[in-house]
């Protein structure tokens, strides 16, 4: 079907974005702010080089989080537990990573693996509960989030924070062998001159690899076929020989191990230690980005960049006396309108496809009759 992809992948999100900004404009008008001025301010601030670097840095964890959520979505599992998994994973990986120093690549890899294992165990618990006790994963992952928040707070304050009294409460600093270098040299090579303090985190490369890996796993591998079949029609997947319980467990393990990497960009690229105000919310916002990108890796990348851009651009609103919560409202509206507009367009596309197939079948019929 020519044009179908263009309709669903470009036209639908563009329309949705437009609608969302118009609706948010009305919200701004209600508080006596000219939406066009506000949007112009955001745009002008958002496209400065520092803002763009910051937007990408913000987009990377969102993208990884969206990947984790999307793996679950693909088989109809709603993993709400990415939030808890990545916080717990970041804390434990930060603690473990600070205990030793080995050559750089190995050190980074070992820290990432600790994060993945913690995330996998944490989300795997929800899978185990579903398989063994029939607990719906939405319930268990939400509850496990609360446990993770409090468990990590307890472990951090009571056991894992550094003893040496500094100004900030944090775990020990990870030795430099465990850091992921920034990509600024590449930016310089491209003729850009990032200002001091503005660094493009190196985890971006790993995120891109994860995105490609997601595509291969979901769309090209046998496992991905079973995963998608289970999501589209569980009864048919079961009859085709997919073991539904094993599928739930492996999906939650994979989703959790990706979730365990959500905080790594921040941890290994910037903080180098787990700090008390380690950024939260990537897990929940990842759900929105996965919806926005409709579980498609490229779509989710764009969604994450859009959210990153908007979050960064929102900073200017404070200075102009505009409530920056308006950006959160726009983000919510974008997700809603994308879901609705996509549904409308995909119904239209399905109708068209069915009609075309019916016509083609009728033509075949006539040919057969004539022959």
């Amino acid at each position: 079907m020519r044009g179908t992809r263009f309709l669903t992948s470009v036209v639908a999100p563009a329309i949705a974005l437009l609608i969302a900004f118009v609706l948010a404009g009305f919200a701004l008008l209600l508080v006596d702010i000219n939406p066009l001025d506000a949007y112009r301010e955001m745009w002008n601030f958002g496209i400065t080089p520092e803002s763009l670097i910051s937007a990408v840095n913000r987009a990377v964890p969102l993208f990884v989080s969206a990947l984790a959520v999307a793996i679950g979505f693909k088989m109809g599992l709603f993993n709400i537990g990415v939030e808890g998994a990545y916080l717990l994973a970041a804390l434990l990986a930060a603690y473990v990573g600070a205990l030793y120093s080995i050559p750089a690549v190995l050190h980074v890899a070992s820290i990432l693996i600790v994060g993945m294992v913690v995330g996998a165990i944490w989300n795997g618990l929800a899978g185990w509960l579903k398989v063994r006790r029939g607990v719906h994963e939405v319930i268990s992952t939400i509850m496990l989030n609360f446990i993770a928040f409090n468990l990590s707070a307890y472990l951090f304050i009571e056991h894992l924070k550094a003893e040496t009294g500094g100004l900030t409460t944090a775990t020990d600093l990870i030795p430099a062998t465990g850091w992921i270098p920034s990509l600024n040299p590449i930016l310089v090579g491209l003729g850009m001159e990032p200002r001091a303090g503005s660094e493009l985190h190196g985890f971006l490369v790993i995120a891109i690899v994860l995105g490609v890996g997601y595509h291969l796993l979901v769309n090209r591998s046998r496992f991905g076929y079973d995963l998608r079949a289970s999501g589209i029609n569980p009864a048919a997947a079961h009859a085709s020989g997919v073991n539904p319980k094993r599928m739930v467990i492996s999906t939650m393990l994979i989703s959790g191990s990706v979730a365990g990497l959500v905080g790594m960009s921040e941890l290994l690229g910037f903080q180098h230690q787990y700090v008390q105000d380690f950024p939260v919310g990537y897990g929940f916002n990842g759900i929105a980005v996965a919806l926005l990108g409709r579980n498609n890796p490229v779509g989710m990348a764009f969604g994450a960049l859009l959210f990153g851009f908007m979050n960064r651009a929102a900073l200017i609103l404070d200075l102009r006396g505009v409530p920056r919560e308006i950006v959160t409202i726009i983000q919510g509206l974008v997700v809603l309108t994308v879901v609705i507009v996509y549904e409308i367009i995909s119904r239209y596309v399905t109708r068209r496809t069915v009609a075309a197939a019916a016509r083609a079948a009728a033509m075949l019929e006539e040919e057969t009759a004539a022959a």
Partner: protein, 508 residues
């Protein structure tokens, strides 16, 4: 003066995207007659009935009821005009009583209370008048299929219907229940009720109808009476050519046992037996038929064999290996194939492209997979092969399965299972809901596979299909095999007797 027609449709046309479901339909139903509308699946009967019942609005043409032009916008308006419909799939709340089901949506009120007593009396009266005996207080879940149908008919009469549309009413009934239904229909007719009887079972139509209208390809191709035609002529009107038959008489049964099931039992969570000590053999080149009224353990038998029931006990020996503890994928790999009874529920990924549907159940091996990856190119090629060999009508193998008609979806499912060359194929309702042409194609393929040495376990509600194709027939009743019959000698009536549990062979 000529009598006014109860229903008169003229020039009715209904288009759907890409297809014309009804074209210039002419239908004249006289008051107090039983008027049969026959045609193969996809001939436009359902659309026509939906138009009469107000569920669908025609693009053009006129509809008259009792001589007055009508334009129904919803079934409610049709009901007000005295038209009632009994759907093929019952729409009853199982845990409600007969009474509650009948009055649901049109409850008689006294003040704010529902007047159950009046309603109960009315139902009993209706039952007596039309020969539809029912106990208003009985829960629907305890009723047989035939009794449920009576509830549906009473429900429609209770709403004041004088024109009754019965959509494939015999599809779910055993022969004995069919004759009871026909008695009721004759009673209804005597009382002046007009009946439109939708069917594709010609002997039944010839038995009960006063007038017959035949549909083909969305058009009404003629109107006749049972006195003027026989089944053969009617069939030829229906399909425009000669009727295929499931008949296979030359035996291809070999000595080699492919599948030996013994002592297969299954209980549900509360310990009720769903399968009791089921034992049978399938030889190479043999079709073993399983007869039974739906809900007597067929679904459980299939699930237990294919590996979807973990709690099944007994022995399932396929080519010498006991598979009872193996899971579904291992059983597939060992040579078990499945045509599921409900292709859309268990056999297809509707939004996915055809080639991914062709891979379903075979996604772990060549040509669909290579190592841990799906082999998209070989998978497509294999699917194109299936499409060609089994004449699946589709523009490409990349269209979603949902775009295909039911018959073509089924041909794809049958094709993918047969081309995978299993040792034993479990075929559950392989021709349900598909048109005569596709049905003949499926029968042909099953026969060919049988001749090539495939063992087939055939579960079917179509007794003619079962008798025509099978080499041996077992009857399943309440989870047990109650009879083993020779299809060469058995009649549908005999089968019905065993299927209802009215008789049981001592030694099976």
């Amino acid at each position: 003066m000529a009598q006014e027609a109860a229903i008169h449709l003229s020039g009715v046309t209904k288009r759907y995207p890409g297809v014309v479901a009804n074209r210039d339909v002419e239908l004249k139903v006289m008051p107090g007659e039983v008027h049969a509308v026959v045609g193969e699946n996809g001939a436009g009967k359902s659309t026509l009935m939906k138009i009469i019942y107000g569920m669908v609005q025609p693009d053009s043409g006129t509809i008259e009821v009792d001589g007055r032009a009508v334009h129904f916008r919803s079934p409610r308006e049709a009901i007000e005009a005295g038209i009632g419909m009994v759907h093929q799939h019952f729409m009853l709340a199982d845990n409600f009583s007969v009474l509650e089901n009948v009055i649901l949506g049109s409850e008689p009120k006294s003040g704010v209370r529902i007047d159950f007593d009046t309603a109960a009396t009315q139902i009993t009266d209706l039952g007596k008048r039309y020969g539809l005996p029912l106990d208003p207080g009985e829960k629907v879940e305890r009723l047989s299929v035939g009794e449920r149908q009576r509830v549906e008919i009473i429900k429609v009469l209770y709403r004041g219907a004088r024109i009754l549309i019965l959509d494939e009413p015999t599809a779910v009934l055993v022969p004995q229940e069919v004759s009871e239904l026909f008695d009721s229909i004759r009673d209804l007719k005597r009382q002046g009720v007009t009946i439109i009887f939708i069917s594709h079972k010609l002997d039944e139509v010839l038995e009960i109808a006063d007038t017959i209208t035949v549909m083909r390809g969305g058009r009404t191709v003629g109107t006749t009476t049972p006195a003027q035609v026989d089944a053969r002529e009617l069939a030829e009107m229906m399909i425009g050519s000669e009727l295929p038959s499931p008949e296979t008489r030359e035996s291809t049964v070999q000595d080699r046992v492919l599948l030996e099931v013994s002592g297969l039992s299954l209980a549900n969570d509360v310990g009720r037996a769903l399968l009791k000590d089921v034992s049978f053999k399938v030889h190479a080149g043999e079709i073993v038929g399983i007869a039974g009224i739906e809900g007597n353990g067929q679904a459980q038998l299939v699930d237990a064999l294919i590996g979807l029931e973990e709690n099944a006990t007994g022995r399932i020996v396929l080519a010498g290996d006991d598979l009872v503890d193996n899971e579904a994928r291992d059983r597939r790999a060992a040579g078990m194939g499945l045509i599921p009874e409900d292709r859309q529920r268990q056999g297809l990924l509707l939004p996915s492209p055809l080639w991914e549907n062709a891979a379903l159940g075979h996604q772990y091996r060549r040509p669909f997979a290579r190592g841990i990856w799906m082999d998209r190119r070989e998978g497509r090629r294999q699917t194109e092969e299936i499409v060609r060999r089994f004449r699946v009508k589709t523009p490409t193998v990349d269209v979603p399965a949902t775009a295909l008609s039911g018959g073509n979806q089924q041909k794809l499912v049958v094709g993918r299972e047969i081309t995978a060359e299993p040792l034993v194929l479990i075929a559950a309702q392989p021709t349900r809901g598909i048109d005569v042409g596709a049905q003949a194609a499926v029968w042909e393929e099953l026969k060919r596979a049988r001749a090539a040495g495939l063992g087939i376990l055939l579960l079917s509600a179509d007794l003619e299909e079962l008798i025509g194709l099978s080499d041996t027939i077992h009857v399943l009743f309440k989870g047990e095999f109650v009879a083993r019959l020779d299809p060469a000698q058995v009649t549908p009536e005999d089968l019905g007797t065993y299927m209802t549990g009215a008789a049981k062979q001592v030694a099976v």
